[in-house]
Amino acid sequence: MFAVEMNNVSVYLGGRQVLKGVTLRVPYNTVFVIMGPSGSGKTTLLRVINRLIDLTEGARVEGSVKVLGFDAMSYDPYELRKLIGMVFQVPNPFPHLTIYDNVAVAARINGVAKSRREVDEVVRWALERAMLWDEVEDRLHDYPHQLSGGQRQRLCLARALAMKPRLLLLDEPTANIDPVNARKLEEAIVSLKDEVTVVMVTHFPHQAARVADYVAVLYDGRVVEQGPAQQLFLRPTTDIAQKLLRGEM
């Protein structure tokens, strides 16, 4: 059993084929990193897993996608998303809600917490796991625009965690933040894998080496190589993976 099983998945966006017969398996409770150059289909792949691809006008998905044992393409997308948290490339906390409410809203919607006390506990737990609690515990009623970019991204991680998801999708979560915040986010990600399976997209080889248990290399919509991180970093078998790891792509 795998947290995510993709078999021969192809995605067409407005007639253009973005994913070309992708097959990959994400074991439970691991950090699975997807690497690849810009435009290789990494974000699209994540959006297939939680069916956010449905929001893209004219998108068509072929092949089989199993997420946490459910057939993702025939399962109710709203029910599916209750099991999957997601952090996007650009920090996108809800600007009209306070730090507290940004996290609480996810817990309430998914029925994770109902009473005020339960919500308080989940908010604290999620902010602690996102390594943000110490920085915001006395300013929970501030708004996201009062936080730095890195703090905003960790708030998004806390929002995703407050759903108590079984799968966490991270779409280049450190691409727009400073190295200190990036490192904190990485620490948070690694510490999470006992409770949640993480699928992370990144184009930083060093970051992948620090956090990944498994790696898949995506190029032009195809998985050109995948396997345990150590094996792939030490002995990449394809030319594309070698170039990507050397930062030449």
Binding site: L52, Y78, K82, G85, F88, N92, V105, R159
Partner: protein
């Protein structure tokens, strides 16, 4: 010494400043003229301006515009919720489902509705509402006003919703919010300032419209009526009639009424700015 590039930049800045000033001066002049002339009249009439009936044509007393104030308030109260609710739902539908056939039809109808002359709307409402009801009424006036204001409100609301970056919609869906939840809990609250401005502009459109009321409201100025089914007057109608009349007293009343209308807009504008805080993205 200035280089040619710096000189050109200075000249361009000056040109923009002069052109902006040229655009602002007539508006400021208009506002000041209406406020000075109008408030001179209101000060002379005192509280009676708000409570009395309009003066007889050759009267020396200024009297008041109570029927017009009540009529405008009544028609705004009836028309505003209808307009705002319909326009907001239409904007949500066309923003969330832009390729849906119903959305395409609504968008096309809203755009074409804006280009229909307001006097024609007045005549249509006269045929469909006034004639079957056998009389002018505040209700007929309010319906005509709603038809006029609907495309404007729709345009404001749909622009406000479309201007929200897609990442917030995606964030809402990613935490398992449904489409309705995303609209009500995320998109509308983020766009609240723009929507509030849209509501304000709709009020301004409703309160300031004249032609739509010519064949619908009834110009009832000999008493004060609070009934939606009775004839009513409106401030713009009174201004239109009185400013065209040959009587000096009526001209003064028209100035006072115009100042009152303008003051209402200014108060609403600043109240909206104060009450509805902008969401910082």
């Amino acid at each position: 010494m200035y280089s040619w590039r710096m000189l050109r930049e200075k000249l361009f800045t000056c040109l923009i400043a002069v052109l902006s000033l040229l655009a602002i001066v007539p508006i400021v002049h208009l506002i000041i003229a209406v406020l000075i002339n109008g408030f001179t009249v209101i000060a002379k009439a005192g509280i009676n301006f708000f409570t009395n009936l309009p003066p007889a044509p050759l009267s020396r007393e200024i009297g008041g515009i109570a029927p017009s104030i009540i009529g405008t308030a009544l028609m705004t109260i009836i028309s505003l919720p209808i307009t705002v609710v319909l326009a907001l739902f239409a904007a949500i539908l066309t923003t969330e489902f832009p390729r849906n056939t119903v959305s395409i039809i609504i968008d096309a109808v809203a755009k074409s509705l804006a280009s229909i002359p307001t006097i024609a709307v007045s005549m249509i409402v006269f045929t469909l509402i006034v004639m079957p009801m056998k009389g002018f009424s505040a209700l007929a006036g309010a319906i005509a006003l709603s038809i006029i204001a609907l495309p404007y409100a729709y345009t404001y609301f749909s622009t406000a919703l479309r201007s929200i970056p897609a990442m917030y919609r995606e964030a809402a869906f990613s935490i398992a919010m449904g489409r309705w939840g995303a609209v009500m809990k995320v998109l509308i609250p983020i766009a609240r300032r723009s929507i509030a401005v849209g509501v304000l502009m709709t009020i301004a459109r409703i309160m300031g419209e004249t032609a739509a009321l010519l064949f619908t409201a009834g110009r009832f100025r000999t008493g004060v009526s609070f009934s939606p089914t009775s004839p009513a007057d409106a401030i713009p109608l009174l201004i239109f009639d009185y400013i065209l009349s040959p009587y000096e007293t009526w001209h003064q009343v028209a100035w006072g009424a115009a100042a009152l209308l303008l003051l209402a807009y200014i108060v609403l504008f600043f109240a909206t700015k104060l009450i509805v805080k902008e969401v910082k993205l």
